[in-house]
């Protein structure tokens, strides 16, 4: 069976073959398998050398000092460590945290946990374009605010927030600023020598590195303190214990280096693919782009196609691997909380599709997607009573529906 064309690069990316090769050198007896904490022999020294090289590669991608990188198991752990670690360390200073309603669940659920521990959290509404502005953050600051956590790019709609602007607000107010950059790192430039960000989360598998690997940037000047969440041998300067996974770390480092080298060219290429896709479907009636048109990741396209339901649309797109904000594709039967926070009607949230383009997407892939999508929409609208009503001039908002 031929596999569907992959358009879900925001869910995860394959490991780049160049990265996989380097990882495989760190596994077997012949390879660099040692424990970096072994100070007494060559195996340990070699592992440590590879890990410190990777630390520099990741730091270079974001223009940071390698000593500011803490290895974790992924962005979920990084978010947990940043939020809980900061909240626990600075709780005597205040107990108020600011975040947004469209953050990743790793941030939102960490905030919920902190609320249970007695912290007070403000969840900002993004604009209808999905953006959280520096002004919105400034207006939410209080005397007892200790931390602001706003994502760089949103995983569902791909919008990119002005984190440099938000950093100015938080630094002036003496409040720490955490950014979840899982989705943006390696795709758009990040310069932490310029941006006043104090903590930043990364995930290797979003930029062609391995799953189960991430990092947390923890600023040294001005110094940020954290209370560790995982205790043990005192690895990573006590912030995150656990034997370092050499092959995973080497993979993340290699992936970061490639992403840094190829970012500028890839951004142009992916943006062209995105626009080619949009040109191919924009003349379909009642198709809307979700999220800001300009401030978005190069490979991000989230569209709502009115009067057809997302899951049945995906069923029709058998040759394509895409994701939907429809309730029916989730276990909870709730439509996407991100799209709802943008003020989208439930109907349009149910009718949303996310296409994310990546390193291995070709023009031909995009053309195939356009063709299949057009065909599927035509078929499903033929089946849709809502489309009939729309065509008959019925205002669907005025209909008394029997909600169930």
């Amino acid at each position: 069976m031929q596999k569907p064309i992959y358009f879900d690069f925001f869910a995860t990316t394959p490991v780049d073959p160049r990265v996989a090769e380097k990882m495989m050198d760190c596994l077997t007896m012949e390879g660099n398998f040692g424990n970096a904490a072994s100070r007494s022999h060559l195996y340990g020294w070699k592992a440590e050398e590879a890990i410190e090289n990777a630390r520099r590669q990741v730091a270079d991608l974001i223009n940071a000092d390698p000593r500011e990188i803490v290895w974790t198991s992924g962005a979920t752990e990084s978010d947990n460590l940043a939020l809980k670690g900061v909240a626990h360390f600075y709780q005597k200073r205040g107990k108020h945290i600011i975040t947004s309603k469209i953050e990743h669940k790793a941030v939102l659920d960490s905030c919920r946990q902190l609320e249970r521990e007695g912290f007070d959290v403000t969840y900002l509404d993004p604009g209808s374009n999905g953006l959280t502005t520096p002004e919105a953050v400034a207006n939410a600051l209080r005397e007892d605010t200790i931390l602001v956590s706003i994502m760089h790019a949103n995983n569902e709609i791909g919008i990119v927030n002005d984190i440099a602007g938000i950093g100015e607000v938080t630094r002036n107010a003496g409040v720490l600023f955490h950014v979840d950059a899982a989705q943006s790192a390696g795709k758009v430039p990040i310069d932490l020598a310029l941006m006043k960000v104090d903590l930043m989360s990364f995930s290797a598998h979003k930029f062609y590195g391995p799953k189960g690997m991430g990092a947390l940037y923890v600023r040294r000047k001005p110094r940020v303190r954290l209370e560790a969440q995982i205790h043990g041998g005192g690895h990573e300067r006590g912030m995150r214990s656990g034997t370092l996974a050499t092959h995973q770390i080497v993979g993340m480092g290699a992936a970061a280096e490639i992403a840094g080298e190829e970012m500028a060219g890839e951004a142009v290429r992916l943006k062209a693919l995105r626009e080619r896709f949009w040109e191919g479907i924009s003349d379909i009636e009642e198709v809307h782009i979700n999220g800001d048109r300009e401030a978005r990741l190069p490979g991000a396209m989230n569209v709502s196609i009115a009067f057809v339901e997302g899951e049945s649309l995906i069923m029709s797109l058998k040759g394509l691997a895409v994701s939907s904000g429809s309730a029916c594709t989730s276990a909870s039967l709730e439509p996407s909380y991100v799209l709802r926070a943008l003020g989208l009607s439930d109907e349009l949230a149910h009718s949303s599709l996310r296409f994310s383009f990546g390193r291995f997407t070709t023009e031909q892939d995009v053309d195939t997607a356009v063709e299949q999508l057009r065909h599927a929409v035509e078929k499903l609208r033929e089946l849709s009573p809502l489309w009939d009503m729309y065509k008959d001039g019925v205002d669907l908002d005025q209909v008394q529906w029997a909600a169930h």
């Binding site: 339901e309 439930d346 149910h350 089946l383 849709s384 809502l386 169930h404």
Partner: protein, 128 residues
Amino acid sequence: MAYSDKVLDHYENPRNVGKMDANDTNVGTGMVGAPACGDVMRLQIKVNDEGVIEDAKFKTYGCGSAIASSSLLTEWVKGKNLDEAEMIKNSDIAEELALPPVKIHCSVLAEDAIKAAVEDLRSKRAGV
């Protein structure tokens, strides 16, 4: 999600898609669900003078299971009288299509649709 072959068959080749004149006194229309919930079904039945359903049409906005449930329903109701049609249970539909638990509500919606269509027809005839 893995669908049963029967769901896929109805989804790929939906039976009796269409629309009848809702003002026809021999046509009963049942429209159930809501766009906000992610599914809306419109089921229409046409009844002859003997009270037997001779034709059925549907259109459904919803997931594959919702489309399959309504498509199956149009096949089942043809040739039945109104009382028999009302007896169709959601559990029969769910069983026939091997719907997973999370999709049972689609079959419930189909049962609601046929009940609503029969009721519409009866109230029309009572009014004549």
